[in-house]
């Protein structure tokens, strides 16, 4: 394999991988504060991309993206307030079914609003044919946008959780909800906020990736599965590990095509990886077995 081809596969893998990682971080934020796996996480990515495309008809691109992120945050907050906030000690099965139902409804609404046409945002800089040469391979500038924006999200999030009072309060809720409540933290609001935060980063990911992969109403399920694979691969709840796991999965996928594996089986590969990890190391590649056994799955 020539260097050019090799670096192209690497970049393709990294691009997809970092998107998976962002979806996985969305899972982790909600999982940490509530113990819920939000099966509608992929729908946030779809909503972000689709609403940005619609807003872009009337607004310049940056404003359209900001509007789309705010809109998706609103949806995230509404979901939590209307469907989850007031449940008393819901069982895991009940929450799973509720979020699955929500993802179906969001998808069906999107189908009736936007139809089943495939759309895309315009390239942020340049156009389809413009390219930058890195390591001898022509790379679309949009790939660099994806990498830059997603890296920013990861760095800002870790700064947010480390240094801001709000981030600290969310972490307190994650580690011990009762103790946090006793310290005067409104745990319910933290849960709402975690839904808004993960909706927001999902929407940003949906916007930056839209020019490359296009957006359509049913893109959410596939992304949610990949994102969950990555979250489990890294160890549920651990966001930095999710980035490493995401890049790993993206590169494995890219090279599975490179060695001639049929494209149709690409999803099957990542799901098989998920199954194997679940069976062999359910606490993830980087997770701690003892810590995981304390959590209720």
């Amino acid at each position: 394999m020539s260097l050019e081809l090799f670096s192209q596969y690497i970049f393709a893998g990294i691009t997809y991988g970092i998107i998976y990682a962002i979806v996985a971080i969305g899972f982790n934020i909600i999982y940490n504060t509530t113990g819920i796996i939000n099966f509608a996480q992929g729908e946030f990515v779809m909503l972000g991309g689709m609403s940005a495309i619609t807003l872009n008809y009337y607004l310049p691109l940056p404003l359209a993206i900001i509007g789309a992120v705010l809109f998706t945050m609103l949806i995230g907050a509404l979901i939590e307030i209307v469907f989850i906030r007031w449940l008393k000690n819901p069982s895991v099965l009940r929450l799973i079914i509720i979020t699955i139902g929500l993802s179906i409804i969001i998808r069906e609404i999107a189908l009736h609003v936007w139809g089943d046409t495939v759309r895309a945002l315009p390239y942020f800089t340049g156009n389809v044919v413009s390219s930058v040469t890195i390591l001898g391979a022509p790379i679309s500038p949009q790939v660099l946008w994806v990498l830059a924006v997603c890296s920013c999200i990861v760095i800002l999030l870790s700064l947010f959780f480390k240094f801001t009072p709000l981030g600290k309060e969310m972490q307190a809720c994650a580690s011990n909800r009762l103790a946090a409540t006793l310290c005067g933290i409104n745990a319910k609001n933290m849960v709402t906020f975690s839904f808004m935060l993960s909706a927001a980063i999902g929407a940003v990911a949906g916007c930056v990736v839209s020019p490359i992969t296009s957006s359509e109403y049913d893109m959410g399920t596939g992304l949610a599965i990949k994102g969950f694979t990555v979250a489990v691969l890294g160890g549920l709840g651990n966001s930095l590990a999710a980035v490493a796991a995401g890049l790993l999965l993206g590169i494995i996928e890219a090279f599975s095509i490179a060695i001639g594996f049929p494209l149709a089986f690409q999803d099957a590969i990542s799901i098989s990886i998920l199954l194997v990890i679940l069976f062999v190391r359910p606490h993830g590649l980087f997770g701690n077995k003892e810590a995981a056994s304390l959590k209720e799955f």
């Binding site: 509720i98 139902g101 679940l278």
Partner: protein
């Protein structure tokens, strides 16, 4: 069998016959086609109810088992083995001499030699049971979200495989599946003349399956399952082999799904990848949830009503949205199922207190 159970089943049989007579009298026997398809779906749903309601395990991959059954039978009964026989394949000639192959002709009058539907059906069930067994061993060790995702993943893999392989007809699926002659005179196929017979075949299969499950949950196994559902650790410490019981129920319900898949495929004459889709699995879970999880009667009733309405196109293009909405409303307000609304039981209790 308790008297209550016998009465219930007798009423069910009377209802099935009454529906058929009613359609005959009102000249609406075209309803029987959808009713037959509904009953096969119900067979899968009561099987899933055993896993979800009684063993307490969620499965988002049951459309996968349905598809394994249906696709195995469909591909075996449509693949022409005549070239292989003429090519001197010892396998094919052995099967042929054992009378396990049937001759037929294609739409264009070419001679066909295919696997006999009975053999195909048995193979389909065996393969499904084997896959369920092998998948079940590791999967059922998982709980909650992990179990849901793992079964969902299994369903997607099956969907991808049937969508990507030429042997399974890729996106078109398999069509022109021949009828399945159970006994001389009893053929599962979509002929209009055969509609009433097929209605009763489906009813017989469904009622048999239902009675089997009712007896199973009233047996030692059923009590063990309920103990597992209530408190798995406690059940374990009482000497119940929880892992084995969970695996058995998983395999049994997969077999129910496979039988439904085989018979429905022969009835409609074809199967397509959408039958293996994730939405189908979600829909089955939804119906079991609406029926009240641990209620075979509830699953049967709701499965019958919702599947029939959906097949009649009652929900139009909002079909999936309707199922999603019902799912959420039930889980929010009546997690015990519609037939056991907490409001009702409260009302009853108040009445009793007043009366005493």
């Amino acid at each position: 069998m308790g008297a209550k159970k016998i009465t219930g089943i007798a009423l069910l049989v009377v209802f099935v016959v009454a529906v058929q007579i009613a359609t005959q009298l009102t000249g609406t026997s075209y309803y029987l086609t959808q009713l037959t398809m509904t009953m096969y779906s119900c067979l899968l749903i009561i099987g899933l109810c055993l896993v979800m309601g009684y063993a307490g395990q969620v499965s988002l991959g049951h459309a996968g088992f349905f598809a394994i059954g249906g696709y195995t039978s469909a591909s075996l009964t449509t693949t022409n083995l005549l070239p292989a026989l003429e090519g001197g394949s010892s396998w094919v000639s052995m099967l042929n001499s054992m009378g396990l192959l049937t001759a037929g002709s294609s739409m264009f009058g070419e001679p066909l030699l295919t696997v006999h539907p009975w053999l195909a059906c048995l193979l389909a069930i065996t393969i499904t049971a084997l896959i369920a067994f092998l998948v079940g061993i590791p999967v059922l060790k998982l709980k909650g979200h992990y179990l849901a995702m793992a079964t969902l993943g299994f369903g997607i893999i099956i969907f991808r495989i049937v969508l990507a392989m030429e042997f399974f007809g890729e996106a078109d699926g398999i069509s022109d599946v021949p009828g399945f002659t159970l006994l001389p005179g009893l053929t599962v196929n979509g002929d209009i003349d055969n509609r009433v017979v097929n209605y009763y075949i489906a009813a017989a299969v469904l009622v048999t399956g239902f009675v089997l499950l009712l007896n199973l949950i009233d047996s030692r196994v059923g009590r063990a399952l309920r103990a597992i559902h209530g408190a798995e650790d406690a059940a374990d410490s009482m000497g119940i082999n929880t892992a084995r019981y969970k695996l058995y129920t998983f395999v049994i319900s997969a077999v129910f799904a496979a039988v439904a898949g085989v018979l429905l495929t022969h009835y409609t004459g074809g199967i397509s990848p959408s039958d293996a889709g994730v939405m189908k699995s979600v829909r089955y879970v939804a119906i079991v949830a609406i029926g009240g999880m641990a209620s075979l009667w509830g699953a049967l009733t709701m499965g019958g009503i919702l599947n029939f309405l959906s097949l009649r196109g009652f929900f139009g293009s909002y079909d999936d949205a309707v199922f999603g909405t019902i799912l959420i409303i039930i889980m929010l307000f009546a997690p015990e199922g519609v037939l056991r609304l907490t409001l009702w039981s409260k009302f009853k209790r108040q009445k009793k207190e007043k009366g005493s």
